[in-house]
């Protein structure tokens, strides 16, 4: 029998030993992404081709950019169900502006700004009316989609300058342009979250809103800002989607909100707020992208695909919960 006194002198060392375990478990999503990648490379000869990989990147980028904004929103303890509708509205207004003769950059800017305004509306409503973001964005999901359909009369915008396709389909230095955009957005979001006051407040508000209020933090301002940023990124994603389709589709982005939320959650984000990371979300989005691409390549039925991705979400969150429980019981 060990003497308890000896045990106790060891305890200061224990957190460090635990730390290694935590790092390993934190790496788990990343490892599963790599394993998935390698497995697909072995299973399908078409996987490691240039066309396929850049197609995965292009497909994933739209969800990924949305998911970056969703990461911030979920960390602050919120949710945004309206991003699919925002994506459609941004894409539609941006392409309409081009149809009316504005330049391509101006169109992209308008699409992105549309997203920003929608996000701002979401943020103002949750903070000022004090309604749960789930309810607010469930409402605006309908409002934004409805407005988009009214504005477009339900018809897609087709007359878009040919050069606009570069945004979604072009290459820079042999790498899809959207991937560059994604990397840039991810780096900026990561810096904002980890190294700025806004990011710090985002974690603090999500971890304990009451304590943030008591610390004198302008909670409503920062919450609104986070929803606006999320909307802005979604607006940009809407323009990329429009560029890939070369149409402004008023019905674009249906169900994307759930994919964006899934990416954040697979990446370790907690719907209770206070937890989540850009790298986690990127991994989450790519895992989903690879799963759907891999199923296509291997001829898995698209019906089964949905079930697989659903199961992965539950599995990822279960593993993450187990990790948290292990770290908390000390």
């Amino acid at each position: 029998m060990n003497s308890p006194a000896v045990e106790r002198t060891e305890t200061p060392v224990a957190p460090a030993k635990k730390g290694e375990g935590i790092v390993l478990q934190r790496l788990l999503p990343f490892l599963s992404l790599i394993i998935l990648f390698v497995a697909l490379a072995i299973a399908s000869p078409n996987f490691l081709t240039n066309t396929n990989l850049s197609s995965v990147a292009r497909q994933t980028a739209v969800i990924n950019i949305m998911a970056l904004g969703m990461t911030m929103i979920i960390i602050i303890g919120g949710i945004d169900l309206s991003v699919g509708a925002i994506l459609a509205m941004g894409g539609l207004l941006g392409t309409m502006a081009m149809e009316k003769g504005l330049s391509i950059p101006a169109g992209v800017l308008i699409g992105t700004a549309t997203g920003l305004v929608c996000g701002l509306a979401n943020g103002l409503m949750t903070t000022q009316l004090r309604i749960e973001p789930f309810i607010v964005t469930l409402g605006t999901l309908g409002i934004f989609r409805g407005l988009t359909l009214i504005i477009s009369n339900g018809l897609p915008v087709h007359r878009i300058p040919q050069a606009f396709s570069f945004l979604g389909e072009g290459n820079v230095l042999g790498i899809p342009f959207v991937l560059w955009i994604l990397v840039a957005c991810a780096i900026v979001t990561h810096i904002v979250l980890e190294h700025t006051r806004l990011g710090r407040y985002t974690f603090a508000i999500g971890s304990n809103r009451e304590a943030a209020v008591y610390a004198g933090i302008p909670v409503n301002f920062h919450t609104t800002a986070v929803y606006a940023i999320g909307g802005m990124l979604t607006g940009l994603a809407g323009m990329i989607e429009a560029s890939r389709l070369m149409t402004g589709q008023p019905t674009a982005g249906q169900g994307y909100e759930l994919q964006a939320i899934a990416a954040v959650v697979i990446g370790g984000g907690s719907l209770h707020g206070g937890e989540g990371s850009v790298t986690g979300t990127l991994i989450g989005a790519f895992i989903m992208g690879l799963l759907s691409n891999g199923s296509d390549l291997l001829g898995v039925s698209p019906y089964l695909q949905q079930a697989i991705i659903g199961a992965v979400i539950i599995l990822a969150v279960t593993l993450d919960e187990l990790r948290k429980r292990r770290t908390m019981t000390s």
Binding site: P12, Y201, A204, E210, A215, G216, G274, T329, S330
Partner: protein, 500 residues
């Protein structure tokens, strides 16, 4: 013997929570369990209540060895526990909470609501609880909720009831109510285990005492034989002067002046001032308006009329943001709810209220944050491995210090402490008092709310007493409990119904 625990061991990972836990409880006895935070009391109680399983040792229930795996198994053999934190469903009524999980059901799952309310009313009346079966639990004060917890524990005919710090959120008359209920349990030959941090409760309720330290039982004996000094000696393992002594500091400028503060239904014509270097106690019973006053001064619940001046200049405290800017800090009693982001590192918590101080060009300067955190961890002797440790993994006393560090880093000068010693152990209490003294010496003005009058008498330079939202008296620091009580409780008050 009702319950006997011999050489209980329990470890979590590499950490030994219990090394040698021993406890014996007889029917009809009130057994006090004392010990600092982390001494192993809670773990031992969780083992008795079937919440965690022991690693080694023997648990005898009425002479027979038992291995309880769930709280339901413990309840089935007659062991129930009154938890420190409220585990009630706030939207349900008192009666529904009392029968939660044990509702009488007719076929098809139909709950006999009226019958349940009648049965609950009977039990409430029998024990003379100041409650009503149909009240909504969310409208009750903390004291009222505690009484519902107690009522639930004794409702189902337990032979052993564990009280985990039942009076830590209660003041005078409510605590007396709990003592009365404990005594009636004793008369009915129920065994009671009573965990407390308040040593003055010793004589009021206890028959025997068991003291734990570092996961071991270090003393068991009749409570009448023990002096406060002996108990503290057993708890901390060293001699500590039981009565904290502090010498008043020379007083500086007036930092805070409050004039004719009013808040509809809560505060009535409050006027007082605080000087630099001064610790002013705020006494009163639960519901007297002390917490409300702190919240009003901090801008959480804005005032209707009156003036607040800081350093001679009038300030409008419409929100905590304004109060923080004016240099006012509030350290609340429920620090886990309003003071800390438990899932964030200590370093983040300390710097949270003063981010501009560690930001360069809009980016957080990690090195500045780290050095600030290390500095305050050292200055306040926070027992933490590193600034990266999560705040949620600290003990209560150290969490308290992190909250104080946060305000020090914000350069606050007016500190409102609302029950700063609630739920922390004796050693940590003395440290908090020392800290307050240090703050005062560094030129801060301190308003300290406490329901524990001996603490106020030890620490405060003068004492304000509140009752019914008014300041009813101002006393010098070296006054008596009787004098405070005279101002605090001139009229008898109904305990549960008024808002806290």
């Amino acid at each position: 013997m009702l319950l006997e625990l011999n050489h209980i061991e329990k470890r979590y990972g590499g950490v030994t929570a219990l090394g040698d836990g021993n406890l014996a409880v007889q029917p009809g006895e009130v057994h006090l369990l004392l010990g600092e935070n982390g001494a192993g009391k809670s773990t031992l109680m969780k083992i008795i209540a079937g919440i965690v399983a022991r690693d080694a040792g023997q648990m005898l229930w009425q002479g027979r060895e038992v291995h309880l795996k769930t709280p339901a198994e413990a309840a089935a053999i007659g062991i129930s526990m009154v938890h420190q934190e409220s585990l009630l469903a706030p939207h349900l009524t008192v009666a529904e909470n009392l029968y939660l999980g044990r509702e009488e059901r007719l076929p098809l799952g139909w709950v006999r609501r009226r019958h349940m309310i009648e049965a609950a009313s009977l039990v409430i009346a029998e024990h003379r609880f100041p409650l009503r079966a149909e009240w909504a639990v969310e409208k009750l004060t903390p004291a009222g909720k505690q009484l519902v917890e107690i009522c639930r524990a004794i409702l189902h005919g337990s032979s052993l009831v564990i009280f985990d710090e039942p009076t830590s959120s209660l003041s005078g008359s409510e605590a007396a109510e709990v003592f009365r209920i404990v005594r009636t349990l004793r008369e009915r030959q129920v065994g009671v285990i009573y965990i407390t941090h308040r040593l003055d409760e010793l004589q009021s309720v206890g028959d025997r005492v068991t003291i734990m330290r570092d996961g071991r039982t270090v003393h068991t004996g009749p409570s009448a034989e023990l002096t406060t000094e002996r108990i503290i000696h057993h708890m901390v393992g060293r001699e500590v002067s039981a009565i904290y002594q502090r010498n008043p500091l020379p007083q500086g400028d007036e930092l805070l002046r409050v004039e004719h503060l009013n808040q509809q239904g809560r505060l009535n014509d409050i006027s007082f001032s605080l000087r630099a270097g001064e610790i002013v106690g705020l006494a009163g019973l639960i519901g007297a308006g002390r917490t409300e006053l702190c919240r009003a001064l901090f801008g959480v619940d804005p005032i209707d009329s009156g003036r607040v001046s800081v350093c001679g200049r009038e300030v409008v405290v419409g929100s905590p943001k304004h109060a923080v800017k004016a240099g006012i800090a509030l350290v609340t009693e429920d620090r886990q709810i309003t003071g800390l982001a438990l899932r964030l590192p200590i370093g983040h918590n300390i710097t949270l209220a003063n981010m501009p101080a560690i930001c360069r060009l809009g980016l957080v300067d990690g090195r500045a944050q780290n050095s600030a955190a290390v500095d305050y961890i050292g200055r306040l002797r926070i027992r933490a491995g590193s600034p990266r440790q999560l705040a949620g993994r600290l003990s209560g006393g150290n969490q308290q210090k992190v909250v104080i560090a946060k305000w020090l880093f914000r350069q606050a000068r007016i500190f409102l402490f609302d029950e700063p010693t609630r739920g922390i152990d004796v050693g940590a209490k003395v440290e908090v008092f020392n800290l307050m003294h240090e703050l005062a010496r560094a030129g801060a003005a301190i308003l300290m709310v406490s329901s524990e009058m001996p603490e106020l008498l030890q620490v405060a330079d003068r004492i304000l007493v509140m009752r019914g939202g008014r300041i009813t008296g101002e006393l010098p620091g070296r006054t008596t409990q009787e004098a405070i009580l005279r101002y605090a409780a001139l009229e008898t008050q109904p305990p549960a119904e008024e808002r806290a």
